[in-house]
Every structure is written in structure tokens, then in C-alpha cells.
């Protein structure tokens, strides 16, 4: 909204980020991991040593070796390549789902928090209804009803995450609704929408940022869970969840690498997102600043 971001802000913020990172090595690791994941998502297809879709019955179920770092799966596909390729899809699912639920949830929650009254009552009941479902089961139902495409998985994940944003946004907006700066903004000639959009909402953002990063991990887990019960993305698409789910059947027979490496990737990603959330909290929490 403001045209220029002054230098002081940049520097102060950067200093702060660097401080938080150096203070807390785990956060630094999380940021590094996150960067790696993004890089792999972007360059995965270039990095993959094999065609992740190409099967070869002759080299099926080979344990990790110099040729196949993560071994091969039951169709002889290179697990390493598939894990790399899957990064993009998983990241996409989580980012899209989280973005969607963030936009809708934040809009609903902000409106409810700002205007209260019947808007709050209606959206409140709506959110309660979603929450009254066991969330994973709701996601299952949605995907089962609409079909298991990537889009539907994203929608389902977005819907079940929506209440969290709506609630956080409502609470954060509500406590600022009559804050001095909001009153001042009204006196400055801002309409209600402007007060909400330019003054209150940006201040309510940091707690939501934390929620976002936690939910990204959640979204991936959710997609994986759907895969496990057969409602995930379609084969032969490489996706961590489905690889773990399929590989799970091979663990007892000793082919641990099928589930292990995708599981590791999954865990690393979720781990990174979760820690990132903590890191963001440190960075955005005004109390952490001097």
C-alpha cells in the first residue's frame, strides 16, 4: 500500500532476521531446509538421474546402491528420482491448499471479527459446522464424493484448514478492532473496509503466518493420509504420501527403502515447515524485538 519501503525498515528487519537465525540454530536449519525443498521443487526434474515414471521389471525392488541411491520400487522405478519429482507436487498441493484456505478463511474471519453481529454469527456457525466434523474424515468425504484429483485434494485440504484461519483472523482482528490506531485510521478518513484492509489486517498477519507454515506441513500429511486409504493422487504420479502408503506394504517383507525415503522426505518437509513456523513466530513476535 505504501509506495516505498524505507531502508531503515529493511535493515532493521534483516538485522532482526539474522539475529533470530543466529540465536536459534534450529530455526536456521529450518530455513535452510525450506530453501532446499523449494530448490528441489524447482529443479527436481533436472536433477533426477532417471525417468521417474519408467518402469523396469528386471530391476524391481533393488536395495539402495550406487546406481539407485534410494533403491528401486516394485516396478523397477528409481525411488530417488521419484522422491525428487514428488517435491514439486507436494509443495504445490500444500501451497495451493494453504493459500486457498488462508484467503477464504482470513476474509471470513476478518469480516466476522470486524463487524461482529450477524456476520459473526453466520460465519461462526459455518466454521463450527466444519469443525464439528472430524477433519480428516471430512477431507476423505469430500475427496470420495468429488473424485480423487489433485484439485479436489487441494479443495478438501483447504476446507478443513479454513476454520483455523477464520478463527485466528477473527480473534486477531477483534482485539484490534477498537485499538487506538484503528480509531485513528477512521478519523483519518478511512472507510471500514480500508481500516480493515490497510490497518488492522496487516497487523493480524504475523500470527497467521505462523499458522500458514504449520498448515503447510499439515496439508502434506493430509494428502499422504488420503493416499494411504486410497483417496490420494492417481498413480503413477509420484507423491510422497502415496509412495509411503504403497511402500508400507513392503516394509515387513524387508524392502524398507520404498517407504523409508519418501517418508523421510515427507518428514523433512513437514519438519521444516513446522520449525519454520516457530522461526516466523520469533521473527514476527513484536515482543522479541527491541
Amino acid at each position: 500500500m505504501s509506495a516505498t519501503t524505507p531502508e531503515t525498515r529493511e535493515r532493521g528487519f534483516l538485522d532482526h532476521v539474522i539475529y533470530v537465525l543466529s540465536e536459534n540454530p534450529i530455526t536456521a536449519i529450518a530455513f535452510a531446509l525450506f530453501a532446499t525443498i523449494v530448490l528441489v521443487a524447482v529443479f527436481g526434474p533436472i536433477l533426477a538421474p532417471y525417468d521417474p515414471m519408467e518402469s523396469n521389471a528386471a530391476r524391481a525392488l533393488q536395495p539402495p546402491s550406487a546406481d539407485h541411491w534410494f533403491g528401486t520400487d516394485n516396478l523397477g522405478r528409481d525411488v530417488f528420482s521419484r522422491v525428487l519429482i514428488a517435491t514439486r507436487l507436494d509443495l504445490m498441493i500444500s501451497v495451493a491448499a494453504v493459500a486457498l484456505s488462508f484467503v477464504v478463511g482470513a476474509a471470513i474471519g476478518s469480516a466476522a471479527g470486524y463487524w461482529g453481529g450477524w456476520i459473526d454469527a453466520v460465519t461462526g456457525r459455518f466454521v463450527d459446522t466444519i469443525m464439528a466434523f472430524p477433519l480428516f474424515v471430512l477431507a476423505m468425504g469430500i475427496v470420495a464424493a468429488m473424485g480423487n484429483t489433485v484439485e479436489n485434494i487441494i479443495y478438501a485440504t483447504a476446507i478443513i484448514n479454513l476454520p483455523f484461519y477464520a478463527r485466528v483472523a477473527r480473534a486477531e482482528v477483534r482485539i484490534r478492532r477498537n485499538a487506538g490506531f484503528a480509531q485513528a485510521a477512521r478519523l483519518s478518513g478511512n472507510t471500514d473496509i480500508q481500516v480493515l484492509a490497510f490497518h488492522i489486517f496487516p497487523n493480524a498477519l504475523p500470527p497467521m503466518m505462523v499458522q500458514i507454515s504449520l498448515n503447510m506441513g499439515w496439508a502434506i500429511l493430509n494428502a499422504a493420509g488420503l493416499s494411504f486409504i486410497g483417496l490420494g493422487v492417481r498413480p503413477p504420479t509420484a507423491e510422497w504420501g502415496i509412495m509411503v502408503a504403497e511402500g508400507a506394504n513392503f516394509v515387513v517383507s524387508g524392502e524398507w527403502w520404498l517407504a523409508f525415503f519418501p517418508g523421510l522426505a515427507l518428514m523433512t518437509a513437514v519438519f521444516a515447515f513446522n520449525l519454520l513456523g516457530d522461526g516466523l513466530r520469533d521473527i514476527f513476535d513484536p515482543r522479541q524485538r527491541t
Binding site: 521389471a57 516394485n74 516396478l75 492417481r234 498413480p235 503413477p236 506394504n249 513392503f250 515387513v252
Partner: protein, 506 residues
């Protein structure tokens, strides 16, 4: 294991104890096998690998002591054994048989259809001549009638007990029998906890055969196949029923465990191109697909070499009437390409390749391998997973899946029976919408005549030749039923592919 108890693990749920009830699922049929008796049963034979199998060629008495067809062939008369007793001690009479058969043909759904396969269609056909004489008036003479009395559906129910628990709304006592079997079988159901377990208790007074060796059989439902395998390997269960091909392959030869892999009679796993889909109307395209399938890879990765290959037949005309037998196709992409070019699909086309979610263990790898090879002949297949609830409707009822995987196995082991279900237009398992006038005629001509009829073999050969050429169903392999046993013996393979605990020896 010890004290005469055998623990069986299986992956599915038993949802009813009454096979006649609509909605009763396949795994529940085992209750009909173990807890009920039929008029007749099949014999037992030892397979080349030393394991036991039922013997389709031998019909043995069960409740019936003997039977004969009347001279004019219009009826079959069964003499029931006089000492036959239900669990409650009441005698098994012809009335019970009639009531049970009436029930099977009246209730509708699967039992009715299965009875119909043996030309048993309406209650008027069944007659209790006297207490121990039962008569079936046949609609037509058919070789299928007597074997059809040995399938799980044709159970004999304790009609007095059932009727006592029937209501005007529910004259066939479906609510009662759903939870409380009333039979004469080798095992009583001691406890049924849906979703958890079913416990059979031996019927010490079984009259239709030698009393089983084991006292108790506990059938545990273990949905996770990895868990089933772990349980089996650790020896916590004695029987793992219907184990995946991969486990079967890996575990066979392991100390203490016996893996029985029996090819399922009259069953084939197929790839079905649907004739309502424009390119598949052309026989050449279907053949091209048949030439493109990576059979050996599929057999290896999806079947783990359990079962029987159904490709690479040497001649385009069958030498005998064995069914199934290898189709005369193998993997030859050049031939496939040439055929496609001839058909005018040099640049290929796009087609969805559908598989059922609940059969993904074999369908998924198969589909992936098929998809990959189709891509090599420019056919772009996208895999579509269809949930179990939808699968039947989409593939068999609406028959709308352009290209899909399919499996059908006939309980009655005749090629004509297979053709009847899978190649006749409109019939349930003809999910390819295939129609061929000659097949229609030939099937109807052969369905009921005895196998040793002079016309039978030539006609069957002709039928096989036609479907080989036109390939509305591309055979991949004949599946096997894998059952693992340890610390016990007496497992016997049955066409219905359900647990038969009657011969278990622990």
C-alpha cells in the same frame, strides 16, 4: 496350533452370516461353506504340487445320499440321508431343502442369479416328495444343474427354526438368519463380532461328513496386509488367507510355512478395450493393444509369477478346449504399431485406463506397465482409479469404461459358462460391450449340453478362436489364490476361493 484351535487372518470383513441376503459380501460366503451343508459337494483331489483341491469332476453326497435323473430327463430325485441332523438335533428333511431353495430363488440378487445358472429358477421346480425324498423339476436338461447344487448358495437351512423366527414382513427370516445361522454344517458360529472376528466351534455331531479335527477356528479380520504378513511370519496365526502374490513368492520355501498357490479355475485377469469407444471398434486396434502389452513384466511385477501365463500361445487356433489357455499374443511393439497404422491410428489417441481402487494390488502395477507400453505406440492412457462403490456400476452395469482391467472367474468350471458371462452381449461381465453373432449362437448351443457331446469340443474351439482373433478381452494371466499355512494341514482349494476349515488338521 495347540488345543485344536486354528487362527486364520483375512483382510476383509464378514458382513452377514446369511449368503442369501442381499448385500452379503464375498468373504461372508465362507459361513455358508463351514456352517451349512448342501445336497451334494465336490470331491477332493491332490494337485501335482501335493496340495489339496476340490475336484470338479467328482460330485459327492453331502445331505443327499444318492440322486438320479428321471428317464425323460425332466427331474432329478435326491434321496436324503436319514440320520441328517441340524445343530438343534432336528432331522434334515426334504421340506427344509425345498424351503431353502425356494428362498434362494425368491429373495433375488446374487443367490437367485446363481441358482438360475443351474436352471433353477422358480419354487415350483422344487418338490418335497416325502420326508427324505426331494425332487427338482428341471426346465431343461443341463450339465450345470447338479454342480450348481454344490456351490455355497445352495445351502440347506433349518426351516423350522427359521420359520419360527420369520415375521409377516420378513417371511424368509432374513433378519434372523443374518445374525444366527441355522444349519447342519461342520462348524457352528460361536461368536461373531463384525469388523473383528468370527469364531467357529466344531459341530461334534456333524452328520454330513467326518467330524473336523480342529475344535475351534478363529477368523480374524486384519485389514493391513503388512500386519497379516507379520502375524504369519511370527507364527501368531496358522492360516493367512488370500495373501498377496509378492508375499506368496517370498515366503514360499521358508521354513515352517507352506504357501499354497492354486491357479484359480476358469478365471483370467484381462485388459478390456470397450467397443463403444470409437478406436476400439476396430479389431486391429484391439489387436494392436494386445500386441503391445508387456505380459512378462506384468506377470512378474503384478503376479510375482504366481498363476499361469496367458500369453504367447503358439497357434491362432486352439488345440483343445482347455480354458483358460494362453492367447496367441505376446509383446511385439512393431506388430502393434503396424496394426495401428493399418487402422489409421498411426498418431495414436488418448484413452483413460480405469482400475478399481479395491483391487489396486494387481491392477495398479499392471495399469502402469500397460500405460507405459501404450505410450510407446503413441496411445496416451491416463490412469483413473475408481472407488469400489463406483467400480461395479461403471464397469459392469453401465459398461462405460473405455479401457479397463477386469477379472471374472466362473464358479462352474466350463468354458461355455465363462463365455456366457463374459462374451454375450449385455451379460454382466461383458464389460467390453462385445457382440458377435456367432459367439451368441455357439454359447447358447453349448451351455447346457454335456461336455462329452460330440458337438461340444468343435464349437468351443471355434468360440475360442473367434475371441482370440477379436480380442474384446485381452488375457494377461490366470490368477492364483495364495494361502499360507503353518503348524497345520488340511487346507483345500475351492473354486469359491473361501476358507473351508472342515478338513483342517492342527
Amino acid at each position: 496350533a495347540s488345543n485344536g484351535t486354528v487362527v486364520v487372518a483375512m483382510g476383509q470383513t464378514i458382513n452377514s452370516l446369511d449368503i442369501h441376503r442381499s448385500g452379503t459380501n464375498r468373504p461372508s460366503y465362507q459361513v455358508a461353506v463351514n456352517a451349512y451343508d448342501r445336497l451334494v459337494s465336490f470331491g477332493t483331489k491332490t494337485l501335482p504340487d501335493g496340495s489339496l483341491s476340490y475336484d470338479y469332476s467328482v460330485i459327492e453326497p453331502e445331505i443327499a445320499e444318492s440322486w438320479e435323473t428321471t428317464e425323460d430327463g425332466s427331474a432329478i430325485i435326491f434321496k436324503l440321508r436319514r440320520d441328517g441332523k441340524f445343530w438343534d438335533g432336528s432331522p434334515i428333511t426334504a421340506e427344509d431343502v425345498k424351503w431353502s431353495f425356494d428362498r434362494a430363488v425368491t429373495l433375488g440378487g446374487f443367490p437367485t442369479v446363481q441358482m438360475k445358472a443351474g436352471s433353477l429358477e422358480k419354487p415350483e421346480q422344487f418338490e418335497a416328495v416325502d420326508e427324505f425324498t426331494f425332487k427338482i423339476h428341471t426346465i431343461r436338461p443341463s450339465k450345470l444343474t447338479v454342480p450348481d447344487l454344490a456351490v455355497p448358495v445352495a445351502i440347506v437351512i433349518n426351516s423350522k427354526l427359521a420359520k419360527a423366527n420369520a415375521t409377516t414382513d420378513d417371511p424368509w427370516a432374513t433378519e434372523y438368519l443374518h445374525k444366527t445361522p441355522a444349519g447342519s454344517g461342520a462348524f457352528k458360529v460361536a461368536r461373531w463380532e463384525p469388523g473383528q472376528q468370527l469364531v467357529y466351534e466344531r459341530n461334534d455331531a456333524w452328520t454330513s461328513g467326518p467330524v473336523p479335527e480342529v475344535k475351534r477356528v478363529i477368523v480374524r479380520e486384519v485389514p493391513s496386509q503388512a500386519t497379516r504378513r507379520a502375524l504369519f511370519e511370527r507364527g501368531d496365526i496358522q492360516v493367512s488367507f488370500d495373501i498377496p502374490n509378492k508375499d506368496a513368492k517370498e515366503l514360499s520355501g521358508t521354513d515352517g510355512m507352506t504357501i499354497h498357490s492354486t491357479p484359480i479355475e476358469n478365471a483370467i485377469y484381462c485388459l478390456c478395450p470397450n467397443l463403444t469407444f470409437e478406436p476400439f471398434k476396430d479389431k486391429k486396434v484391439r489387436q494392436a493393444i494386445a500386441w503391445s502389452v508387456p505380459y512378462a513384466d506384468i506377470f512378474q511385477t503384478a503376479a510375482y509369477e504366481r498363476g499361469v501365463p496367458m500369453w504367447g500361445g503358439s497357434s491362432a487356433t486352439p488345440a483343445d478346449i482347455a480354458w483358460p489357455q494362453p492367447f496367441p499374443y505376446s509383446t511385439d511393439l512393431d506388430k502393434a504399431k503396424a496394426l495401428l497404422e493399418e487402422a489409421g491410428y498411426k498418431d495414436g489417441f488418448e484413452v483413460p485406463l480405469s482400475i478399481a481402487l479395491d483391487q489396486s494390488d494387481w491392477m495398479e502395477p499392471t495399469a502402469l506397465l500397460v500405460q507405459e507400453n501404450l505410450a510407446k505406440i503413441n496411445i496416451k492412457a491416463t490412469i483413473e482409479k475408481i472407488p469400489g462403490a463406483n467400480w461395479r456400476t461403471a464397469s459392469l452395469v453401465e459398461k462405460r469404461l473405455p479401457l479397463h482391467l477386469e477379472t471374472f472367474g466362473g464358479w462352474l468350471n466350463y468354458p461355455c459358462y465363462y463365455f456366457f458371462w463374459a462374451y454375450l452381449e449385455g451379460h454382466l461381465f461383458n464389460s467390453s460391450n462385445y457382440r458377435n453373432e456367432e459367439i451368441e449362437t455357439l454359447t447358447n448351443e453349448t451351455l447346457h449340453i454335456p461336455v462329452d457331446h460330440p458337438d461340444y469340443a468343435p464349437k468351443i474351439k471355434r468360440m475360442i478362436e473367434i475371441v482370440w482373433d477379436e480380442v474384446p478381452r485381452i488375457a494377461l494371466f490366470q490368477p492364483a489364490l495364495n494361502v499360507g499355512t503353518r503348524d497345520m494341514s488340511g487346507y483345500e482349494y475351492w473354486f469359491h476361493r473361501q476358507l473351508d476349515a472342515r478338513g483342517f488338521e492342527a
